[in-house]
Symmetry: C2
Subunit: 144 residues, 2 copies
DNA sequence: TGATATTTGTAGCCTAGGCTACATTTTTCG
DNA sequence: CGAAAAATGTAGCCTAGGCTACAAATATCA
């Protein structure tokens, strides 16, 4: 059964949506790293690759490669054997990620999701929440 | 400032959550493909790699490689130049993904997210929603 | 039919994000 | 101090998911 191509829209219907989702996810890991580094700097006074790796459950080699990407993106700096630091851009990113994470968790909990599952799901969900959706979450939480 | 390692928990605090999110995302793309193939089979009677690629906004080579992964995972079959078909497992996956997608979109809309943004965000969010969270979404939608 | 279009498939390259294994540097402590 | 332990960095390998370029098969139509 061969259908003439005209029955399929020339404009890629899903493309815009899917494309967005893909590239968004590319930076998801860096967002996690930035957030964790900020946490460690606040709570421990320093963020060492080994601690970062342990907290994320990856090998230290993996963490170091990710840190290299952070540096390349201008989000972090590091002095060998002296830990990792965030640039201003990195701090801003971390703050935004933390705030967004909190909001997503709060929303899930408000909807009746058990705290444990809420934390876990938020980790994956938060990277795909647009500003519009975030605003809606915020309004909903305030309104109730 | 070197802090004794004992101040950091031996158990990787974030590891469980992050690890889950990562491997979950590995199958996200295959879920998208399965859903789209089911759509095409229903609406067009066949699912050809070229149409799949156009709808997803990727090159046909990329689509073909993803289809190979689907076959390897036992989710799809394909006869050269005769399109792609879903196995029973593939059909089940597609049905689950479609249902989940609808639920996520409905929830976002119910929370006041504009339809356009809801569709877009759902594409990324849906792959990270656990059964517990899905159930909560469902309850919330019914209750209002 | 036969030339042209389209579709499909293959090959090779890239980056991200994982890993292990090994080498090096720094810190700790007897 | 100097040896052992810990942390760091490097090299090399893997898969997923993208891409372009080229080759081959199939459809279309003059």
């Amino acid at each position: 059964m061969r259908v003439p191509p005209t029955t399929l829209p020339a404009e890629p219907t899903h493309a815009r949506r899917f494309g967005k989702a893909r590239t968004a996810q590319a930076s998801a890991v860096l967002e996690d790293y930035a957030e964790l580094i900020a946490d460690l700097l606040a709570s421990e006074g320093e963020a060492r690759p080994t601690d970062i790796a342990r907290r994320l459950g990856v090998s230290h080699a993996t963490a170091i490669k990710a840190i290299s990407r952070l540096k390349r993106e201008g989000l972090a700096t590091a002095r060998p054997y002296r830990g990792v630091f965030l640039t201003e851009a990195g701090e801003r990113l971390a703050a935004r990620v933390r705030e967004r994470h909190r909001l997503v968790v709060d929303l899930l909990v408000a909807l009746g999701v058990p705290a444990e599952a809420a934390e876990q799901d938020a980790e994956g969900i938060e990277h795909h929440v647009s500003d519009a959706t975030l605003a809606a979450f915020s309004r909903f939480l305030k309104a109730r």
